[in-house]
């Protein structure tokens, strides 16, 4: 009856969210008085999961699952859940986990709560807190089914290290026809993605044009951050659609969000409410973003950002 957690990896390496969902699974398992079993698919260093409370790893090596496929991964996780008689399954909020979770919910006839930000407030009834109305509110949700699926919001629970050792067991699920075939993947390998980022540096229409994004990228690189933008910026084609943050774009749940030349319209703020610390740089002291921010600089981005880059470089050099 252990709590089952799907720990994502990329090219064999666990993603940071894998450790976060493992930490979350451990908290749930403690509440239920049971153990944590992790599913690792084509991951190389499974012992790393020991440090986050995992008791046992079901180790899947399968070339059919080399590229992510929602149906194939669903079948693997379903069979693992049946084998372990798991009634609680934990996933992250990555694009891939959100892709497979509803399929898994149907195949296990399980209720699914996405965007969950805290450990359950009660396990009977099983009640979790999730974000709703694009981060303008929280919803307490009870999952009524026997089997429950929880999608944990990235960067919400954090990493909780525990010393321990996880046993490993090879597991070979049967995977049928995948239905959808990956033809190609287009991904910048050296960039931090918005979903995984702890820090996001975002630019708005105040930057005047795409030619000025060099300083945004440089600031992001000094901080090891992802870059993002407001909606008009992607609509104008200054930046790719995938960077557009907000109610109709991507939600951001980073530890630090730096908004440069962004006014702070309600639809933009909705997407970044879940970020912990917000810094705003804007020429207009009346910009609505200052009401939502923790720290603000009233000033011209073209003057402030280059200086900030220098200060941060000096700070990093000292560390």
């Amino acid at each position: 009856m252990s709590v089952l957690v799907y720990t994502e990896s990329e090219q064999g390496k666990f993603k940071k969210v894998a450790f976060e969902v493992a930490s979350y699974a451990k908290a749930v398992a403690d509440q239920l008085g049971t153990t944590v079993t992790a599913i690792a698919i084509n991951a190389s260093n499974i012992s790393e999961l020991s440090s986050y409370g995992v008791d046992k790893v079901l180790n899947i090596s399968n070339t059919q699952l080399d590229a992510f496929n929602a149906k194939g991964y669903t079948e693997a996780i379903k069979q693992a859940a049946e084998k372990e008689a798991s009634k609680v399954i934990i996933l992250s909020s990555s694009a891939n986990s959100k892709y497979l979770a509803p399929l898994l919910a149907v195949s296990l006839n399980a209720g699914y709560a996405s965007n969950v930000i805290e450990a359950p407030s009660s396990t009977a009834p099983f009640t979790v807190k999730r974000t709703a109305f694009t981060n303008k509110a929280f919803e307490m949700t009870t999952i009524n089914t026997d089997t429950k699926i929880v999608g944990v919001s990235n960067n919400s629970f954090g990493l909780v290290e525990k010393s321990g050792s996880a046993s490993a067991e090879d597991f070979s699920p049967t995977i049928s026809d995948l239905g959808v075939k990956v033809e190609s993947v287009d991904k910048a390998s050296n960039q931090v993605s918005i979903a995984d980022a702890e820090i996001v540096v975002s630019g708005g229409r105040g930057l005047k044009g795409p030619e000025n994004w060099g300083m945004i990228e440089e600031l992001a690189s000094v901080l090891g951050a992802a870059t993002a933008c407001s909606k008009p910026v992607s609509d104008l084609g200054w930046r790719p659609h995938g960077e557009h943050v907000g109610q109709t774009g991507k939600p951001v749940a980073s530890n630090l969000y730096i908004a440069i030349g962004i006014s702070g319209a309600i639809q933009h703020l909705a997407g970044i409410n879940a970020s912990k610390v917000k810094v705003v740089i804007n020429t207009d002291p009346e910009a609505p973003f200052f009401k939502a921010a923790d720290y603000g600089v009233v000033g011209d981005a073209f003057v402030v950002v280059p200086q900030l880059i220098e200060k941060l470089k000096a700070f990093k050099a000292q560390q």
Binding site: A95, V106, K136, F138, V180, K181, K187, G242, V297
Partner: protein
């Protein structure tokens, strides 16, 4: 091609979010309802298929009579027919079950839903429909082409995109990118007049339990005032981010 576009009836993006009845119900007072933005991209793509390749487009919503103006708007944009499943949309799984029942009955080739609705953000309806009717599924879909029985789709992944090939019947969870923002349509007078003649069928719901129950809502705690740092003293900002906020 028979296309079904799932339309969620949601508060306008500028809405103030409030709750009533001891914070258990969303307060609709003074709130404007619109077609969910992710669904609007999907509806526009369906119009493209209709005009360029020939398709019959039905829009559907699970909800009470109050959602009919939203369905009429979708008809005014150009959908051929509308269906309302006559039951309150209470949780994602039960909504998906209602939609899947209509899909099975109607034999649709392509089901377009939004990646998520901007009210409850469940992100589960499209995938659950696919699971329930055993169709192929592409989530976070930002491009879709259909040729006969085969489909080519691009989906957004964390930090990039992925090109996929698959076949019909297909369900997509669509989003911005499916069509250009500038291609979104505002109903014109002629469309609005024509929408009145188009069929809006009311279907009674199948029996479906709620797998999840919304118990209570909370609003985020009010924020403290912003700490302003002078542009001439950025060392202070670095210091605050390091020592006070502890984020760098």
């Amino acid at each position: 091609m028979k296309i079904l576009v799932c339309i969620s009836h949601v508060p306008d993006t500028t809405s103030k979010i409030n709750f009533t009845e001891g914070d258990t119900k969303f307060d609709t007072n003074g709130v404007q309802f619109v077609i969910n933005p992710n669904d609007e991209f999907g509806l526009t793509r369906a119009m493209w298929f209709k005009e360029k390749q020939g398709a019959h487009v039905t829009v559907i919503n699970v909800g009470g009579t109050e959602t009919e103006p939203t369905l009429r708007k979708a008809l005014a944009i150009g959908a051929d027919a509308a269906i309302r499943v006559n039951t309150a949309a209470s949780d994602g799984f039960s909504v998906a079950k209602q939609l899947a029942a209509v899909v099975k009955e109607g034999g649709y080739d392509l089901i377009i839903a939004g990646r998520e609705s901007i009210d409850y953000n469940g992100g589960m309806v499209p995938g659950m429909i696919a699971g329930l009717i055993n169709a192929n599924f592409v989530n976070n879909c930002i491009s879709l082409e259909v040729d006969g029985n085969t489909a080519k789709a691009i989906r957004e992944i964390d930090g990039g995109k992925e090109t996929l090939s698959t076949s019909l019947p297909l369900v997509i969870g669509g989003q911005k990118g499916l069509v250009e923002e500038s291609d979104l349509r505002i109903p014109n007078m002629r469309g609005i007049m024509m929408a009145r003649q188009k069929p809006l069928t009311i279907v009674e719901p199948i029996e479906a339990n709620n797998e999840t129950t919304s118990v209570k809502f909370e609003k985020p705690a009010p924020k403290g005032a912003v700490k302003l740092v002078s542009p001439d003293n950025l060392d202070e900002l670095v210091n605050l981010l390091h020592n006070e906020a502890k984020v760098i």
